[in-house]
Symmetry: C2
Subunit: 748 residues, 2 copies
């Protein structure tokens, strides 16, 4: 193993031919042998950490004040990106809300004194009870008098605009940024885990995703803005990180910034700064590795929420999106029965939604639909708009529906679409269940179309409908039998409120989200930051628990994991893997199938041929006795070969490649020293170790490969891809939607 | 490497002489070679996981229904312990509250119609405005008429009972369970990280800690019940886990249960089920390893909170301990200035409190005080009681003080000790600051006495005093200059409320807690679960951020880490360690100082001598060429030697120890095969790897040792103790309070 270079400060010297210069040419910081990854690869965390380490030492060893200031400047840059991303996504989120509200309102009418006002802004400043004249529905605008004509016109404009919005969103995505479709969370999870997918984070994707998202949400398709906002935040952080060389050249550092950005995205999407951090922790599985990353996520999340509140798009100065107010602060034990039932329903329907979504996605991929994505979007949006227009709960924007379902009936505040009419309970229950079923089908179809689409809000809406229905049923039971023993804890007078159907909606939403995403703690935090229902945290927890248990019994994976598996991203789920007695030998690519470089035997020509023939990321190096010498990545080998400036002569081409300095008996003129290409951080195991330890090491140390040796001799290797394949092997449709052609086993 | 045994199911057979039997003798599950750890050791996670793995395979390979039922039964047992611990700690926490309230009230008077009623219970059922006659102060009881005499009597009884409570708590602790003193969190952190400290978790400790805690809290000492409740919860889980063999024999499984119990403890202590999970996540650093552990913590936490609410000690049916109600839901930008100042103050004072506490602890250890712990407790409680009786804010129980400081002034609800008197602002500010300073000194002295003592509540009280003072100052500034530009966002009429001093208290508490514990996200969650201040989550986050930044600048470690370092527990802080260019070679114990076993050379006699002479946990095994063969723990070696049933004859004693089967040329009758003693999971590195990778592997994989090899030859090893020493080297008083004598370097 060579390279005292990397480990001792004094060796880091300034040599123009070896190091890149910073833009101003003054401060030479080594970016020697930066690995350039292609999209579809997996980064080598240990290698990247090594680069970062080397760079830090170089910075600290600068003479005088520079040696102090430069490291500070480094961390300042990191914080600059984190803070700017937080501010940026806060403002973007706020303006997206404004745009969506305006576009959505445009489907029903327009403001007479200013086309760009939404209905609320248009009618602001009115006294209570005054009718808003300035907002004109399309019927009024075209001065239609017949009720039938008006309705038809309203409905037509509603549907046509929906189609236009959705169609243009799809067209934008298909034409300019195909990666801007879908939620983006599976990709972010994969990227944070080390997948290289720079095309997914371009400024172009950022722009199209933001605009497309506004159009898609406004079109009334069954989708939400939450996941895509996380993607937008990551694009912003990526864009900002391109400004600084240390992030451009270091994939690990870049991912640290992206993790903070993702937290900020969730923070803005739900107005939930804590939820953002916890989402990062639980779902993205990023902070488990480093407390600093969690800390930056915390700051980014707080700053994003402050900016959102500062822009204050709706003039409420509140972060809480769906404020709930309960009849009472307490709840009664018997209510646990409907709540646990809701949990079970949420678990079952969540699993069904995932399966339906998978089936539709597979059908789309394998049928003619894959050829005509825009047409499909247009069709879905037409169907959605037409069906939704007929059902009262589905017609309004999903966020408005959710807000109303979460509200308690309050005679002072008026009734929402007859939900509070005690004589129409069964009709309401029927209508709510119908809406829920409709939305399950539409959501399963929509999630995967060529438009930006989040799954959170539709899931919340489905759950809220079911929960409200359950609440209405419980309430009507109580009203019918106020003195039954089960209701003993309620006041015997049924006119006194005892059951809050609004809170049942919140519970329903929690159950459904639990079933679809299989998150636990971050879900609870997001839900009560979303609703302010802190006093009811326990029922929410119990319900999420039930739903996750039931859901897990029907299939272990949440919707994001399923999509990751289908798209075959090299992402290791943070599951507790237990083998059935297998050892590393079972997972290992045996020596006979490993392409390795033989020290003192492989010539420069052989090496070049080998590098051309095999696209593997790296190669183990053995000596003539089969003893393991080290591991070198293909990039390092190419870079080191280039440095040597060999001629194309026969003599140079026949030189032997050597990697270790001491043990060689080949004369100096007959060999080339490639020891600089060796990796410092190589982890070796014996093939007898339990398979679960191998998986565990990949999960926790973010490895790319592990070398197996026995008594110093190479016996095989395992790559991340092998472990991913092992962990997704239970899922029948793994790789069904993979974009990249399957690589050779140890490439990725 | 041997033992196909461990890896293939079919090898796990039933042999009575090799396996222990379960109590009923029916189900033979292997507990072969269970490592017995002494207190003070560190468990070998990989080894324990290996045992668990072996056991699981044995269970699954049982014939017929057994093979299905037994694994289910296993996980049922785990859940049984988790759920029972949740219920147990919930009930214990509730009754502890009742006991503390009664003991505390006893210091001021008693209930005439029933000695065991506290003042609230005694006076319940009265109409509003009616004076409570049933509760009699000691002055009334002894029928003293002179005001001076009454005051003196009241004060004397107050102080005497305080001393009696504290003294008996200390006497109980010193006599029966010396480990029941202090908070327990540092020990729990260490235990969860793999430290073996069974004496800390005995039922005896449980009992003494619970009773001592009630007495200590009631005595009015400056301490809280939070940390000790976590300890009590862990003791309960430990007690329950002793019922089942799989936990008794597996240290890793036992720790999984303890982690869930710790979350339940926090959940009960703060009435904060989510906070409990997050505390486990952030401070105990347990769940990062496995999502299942987090999930169990979530369930335990929820169940504990439900039981607490069900027992409902104070009849409020609320989990929120210090309900806050704010003047308005929104806050103004200028308020960030006092809040950030509070954050800075919190960071500075928090660090000072830590330092003061360390100095006092060191003084106690090295002075005569260590000989007379009960006397010290009595002195401190006398001083505390005497001084507290003089200052109005310090006289009441700390939790009552905090509750009142968090309240807004509301003329309808009456004034609390003149806090709401606008003419006495400066007096109040002075008194609050005095109380804060007093409490800092008392807390620094109390935290470390021989009584159960938590640091959370006193810290909250200190912060709340400071915050309230800051709130009062801001409010008086606003009242004096209502039209100043900085207050523009407030209504110009100073009689309208604009500033909520109660919320400043919450902020102050957050800042102080941030400074003392250096927690971030779990702190925020606990605080708003504690207060219900969800709408103000952002200011709390910002303040915790500031406080942590400032605190970290004055010293990286929170109070728990400092105590862990002082007591020299082998706990690896989850810090982001960056080396300065060192490699593994720097950390490694070189070959020359490693005691190893030489295969084919070391005789049975040599081995016995070696095992007697060196108390190391394990020994690497090399062959005669210095090649690394494997690693065996001392326990495994002893067990395997015992299995061989060698005679004490010269012939047997001179047999050579061999470990690998293939490479040996020694005749069978001249050697003994010890290959069963080898560990499966041995991790090898080269000494050239960066030191940060070595540290990282220890942190994330919970290792006990890493072997360094080069080209198959042993070059050295690193143990957890070496890494702990490295990470605590910056702390000047590391190991100052260590209980166990310093071990040899690679023992622990």
């Amino acid at each position: 193993m060579p390279s005292g270079y990397r480990h001792s400060r004094q060796d880091v010297v300034y040599e123009e031919d070896q190091y890149e210069l910073t833009e101003d040419g003054r401060i030479p910081i080594p970016y020697r042998r930066t690995a350039k990854y292609q999209d579809g690869n997996t980064i080598d965390w240990l290698h990247e950490e090594g680069l970062e380490r080397e760079r830090n030492h170089a910075l600290q060893s600068q003479a005088g004040v520079r040696g102090i200031l430069l490291p500070v400047l480094e961390s300042t840059r990191m914080w600059f990106i984190v803070i700017m991303t937080g501010i940026g996504i806060g403002i973007a989120g706020a303006w997206l809300d404004v745009l969506v509200k305006w576009l959505g309102d445009l489907r029903e009418g327009h403001c007479t004194y200013g086309f760009f006002y939404n209905s609320n802004a248009c009618c602001s400043g009115l006294d209570a009870g005054e009718v808003c004249q300035a907002w004109q529905s399309w019927g009024d605008y075209f001065k239609l008098n017949s009720i039938f004509g008006r309705s038809l016109l309203q409905a037509s404009i509603y549907v046509i605009l929906a189609i236009a919005f959705a169609g243009s969103a799809a067209a934008l995505v298909v034409t300019y940024a195909p990666h801007a479709f879908h939620t983006g969370i599976p990709e972010i999870k994969a990227i944070l885990g080390g997948y290289v997918f720079d095309a997914f984070l371009t400024p172009w994707t950022l722009l199209i995703k933001a605009i497309g998202l506004a159009l898609a949400v406004a079109s009334g398709l069954s989708l939400g803005k939450e996941g895509p906002l996380v993607h937008v935040a990551c694009c912003m952080a990526y864009f900002l990180s391109r400004l600084f060389k240390e992030f451009r050249h270091n994939e690990a550092q870049k991912r640290r910034v992206l993790a903070a950005a993702a937290a900020a995205g969730v923070s803005v999407a739900f107005g939930s700064p804590l939820g953002g951090v916890l989402f990062g922790l639980e779902e993205l599985d990023t902070f488990a590795n480093e407390s600093d990353v969690m800390w930056r996520g915390f700051v980014a999340s707080a700053i994003a929420a402050v900016s959102l509140q500062w822009v204050n798009p709706f003039g409420t100065a509140k972060l809480v999106l769906f404020q709930v107010t309960f009849v009472s602060d307490s709840w009664r034990a018997f209510e646990l029965i409907p709540w646990v039932i809701l949990g079970v329903i949420g678990g079952v329907l969540g699993s069904l939604l995932i399966r339906l979504n998978v089936e539709i996605a597979l059908y789309r991929r394998n049928s003619i639909l894959s050829k005509m994505p825009v047409l499909e979007v247009v069709t879905v949006s037409a169907v959605t708009a037409a069906v939704s227009y007929l059902i009262v709960f589905a017609r309004v924007q999903t966020s408005e529906l959710v807000a109303n379902l979460f509200l308690e009936c309050d005679p002072a505040k008026g009734d929402y679409h007859g939900l509070c009419n005690p004589t129409a309970t069964m009709e309401n229950v029927f209508l709510l269940c119908l809406t829920a079923i409709l939305k399950i089908v539409l959501t399963a179809w929509t999630f995967g179309l060529m438009v930006p689409a989040g799954i959170f809000l539709p899931t919340i809406a489905i759950g809220a409908c079911l929960g409200r229905a359950m609440g209405l049923i419980t309430q009507s039971l109580y009203r019918a039998h106020p003195t039954a023993w089960i209701f003993l804890s309620c006041p015997p007078d049924p006119s006194v409120r005892c059951i809050s159907p609004g809170f049942y909606s919140v519970i329903g939403a929690a159950a459904m989200l639990g079933g679809v995403t299989r998150m636990t703690i971050s879900l609870v935090v997001i839900l009560f930051e979303l609703t302010g229902a802190l006093s009811h945290v326990l029922p929410i927890m119990i319900c999420v628990m039930t739903s996750k248990w039931v859901g897990d019994a029907m299939g272990k994976d949440g919707i994001y994991s399923v999509w990751i598996a289908m798209r075959r991203y090299p992402w290791l789920p943070p599951v507790d893997y237990r083998d059935k007695g297998e050892t590393g030998a079972n997972l290992m690519i045996p020596l006979s199938r490993v392409i390795s470089i033989e020290e003192g035997v492989t010539t420069v020509r052989d090496l070049r041929v080998l590098l051309k023939t095999h696209q593997f990321h790296g190669f183990p190096i053995v000596d003539s006795h089969g003893e393991f010498v080290g591991y070198a990545t293909r990039q390092e080998l190419i870079a080191t070969l280039d440095c040597l400036q060999l001629n194309e002569t026969e003599e140079d081409m026949n030189k032997k490649c050597t990697f270790s300095k001491n043990r060689l008996r080949i004369p100096a003129e007959e060999r080339v020293d490639l020891s600089d290409a060796l990796e410092d951080s190589v982890i070796q195991l014996r093939k007898e170790v339990p398979q679960e330890l191998v998986v565990n090491m990949f999960q926790k140390l973010n490895l790319r490969q592990i070398i197996f040796t026995h008594a110093g001799k190479l016996t095989g290797l395992v790559t991340k891809r092998d472990v991913v394949n092992l962990l997704t092997s239970h899922f029948p449709h793994a790789a069904a939607l993979a974009q990249h052609p399957p690589h050779n086993r140890h490439t990725l």
